[in-house]
Amino acid sequence: MIRIENVSKWYGQARVLAGCSTRIAEGEVVVVCGPSGSGKSTLIKTINGLEPFDEGTIVVNGVSVGAPGTDLPRLRARVGMVFQSFELFPHLTVRENLALAQVVVLGRSRDEAHARGREYLARVGLAGFADRLPAQLSGGQQQRVAIARALCMDPVCMLFDEPTSALDPEMVGEVLDVMVELAGEGMTMVCVTHEMGFARKVADRVIFMDQGAILDDCPSEEFFGNRAGRPERAQQFLARVLSH
């Protein structure tokens, strides 16, 4: 589904991605973790071309992301993305947030888009909230709407960029519940997250990054079960995030 080969990226002299390679199969749930500034958000944003990269190849669903002739908007319409700060459109109601891209990008009728929106809004447990504005929702609710908005596009895979990092602790659970359910339905997911409980429970694989490089890429049982077999940086990271 997603093939990343030797991807590197520089900001001037600073190398933010250093020869990253991995493959994500259909239906697989992969968690990307690592200290802040390790390049994990940058890596996940290269998958749908939001971040350009300088070297290497990324192929998503048979489409080469970095190739000059690639119609990126068309590719992005099939790749769902959820952001740390939700990024709902504040001037539109929840209903319109869900419908906008369906109508403009996919060419669905408004009725069709609203029907689809209602369906996914119910799936994330917010059936009665279609007429609200984003500002009238809690952070957790906003993030669930954002997930529903991405799902309305019938994505072939979903990218989550620290979806719970901007949330109050009591709201993290409601968002993770939706993600767990989504994983259970067989959605291909790449999640940048510090939620190691989620990683252990749901992820098929864990990728550990530091200083722009993928240092570890293994099944999650291995990642959490065999601590001694991990690279030193990953051990330090795990010791820090699991100690509380």
Binding site: F83, E87, F89, P90, T93, L133, M153
Partner: protein, 230 residues
């Protein structure tokens, strides 16, 4: 003070020689203001979007061109277009058209920067979210960015349009018979009523500018409250 001079010349103040001659006075001021408000608004919107979406040399060139129009006095541009346009186009451009062109260019240049600032004030995540959903840049602008940026820009548009109404009085230098021009005419003819005449002219400008401000305020309130209700 004797305000009968106003009553005697009221039609001339408000309409100029119309309907027997060309439209003038306050009505022409309104025509000048409305046409250059619309043109400067459209120009400002297009150039502001261009500023926000271009990079490198194209962007620099645009900044330079806008800087030029912001740096020269309106009066000079009016003179300039009055004498330049006939040379460029090979026919005489009426004074009214000249003034509208000059005011629109200058107003548009100011507004372009307001539009640019309004667009730039939105968090980059909004562009990213729109892009991630597959929206192309033009669609993102139309459906996501501008609907949020335009309300932010409204006060700048209002300021610019009010300045523009008052700048339209500069049209008198090329003999366009708008409000200031006919007021000066009447004053010169009557000789002894400048206070009354120009008090009245000030009142007219005040009424025109205040109505614009009140109107815009009402629209903003209705728009704002509608947004809260939904």
């Amino acid at each position: 003070m004797d305000f009968s001079v106003i009553a005697d010349n009221l039609s001339y103040f408000l309409l100029g020689a119309w309907p027997h001659g060309p439209l003038g006075g306050a009505a022409l001021t309104l025509v000048l203001s409305i046409s250059s408000a619309l043109a400067s608004g459209a120009l400002g919107l297009v150039l502001g979007v261009a500023l926000a979406t271009t990079h490198g040399p194209a962007h620099q060139g645009l900044v330079l061109a806008l800087g030029f129009f912001r740096a020269i006095p309106v009066l000079m541009l009016i003179f300039w277009t009055y004498f330049l346009l006939p040379i460029v186009f090979g026919f005489n451009v009426p004074g009214t058209g000249t003034v509208v062109v000059a005011l629109s260019l200058i107003g548009g240049s100011y507004l372009a920067h307001s539009v640019y600032a309004g667009i730039a004030s939105l968090p980059p995540g909004q562009w990213q979210a729109a892009a991630a959903l597959g929206l192309r840049r033009a669609d993102a602008l139309r459906h996501v960015i501008l609907p949020q940026a335009l309300p932010i820009m409204l006060p700048s548009f209002l300021n610019q349009w009010i300045a523009l109404i008052k700048d339209s009085s500069l049209a008198y230098v090329i003999g366009v018979g708008e409000l200031s021009f006919v007021a000066t005419q009447v004053s010169n003819r009557e000789m002894v009523y400048p206070t009354e005449i120009f008090l009245f002219v000030a009142l007219l400008y005040f009424i025109i500018c205040s109505s614009l401000e009140l109107g815009a305020g009402a629209i903003a309130r209705r728009y704002g409250s509608a947004e809260k209700q939904t």
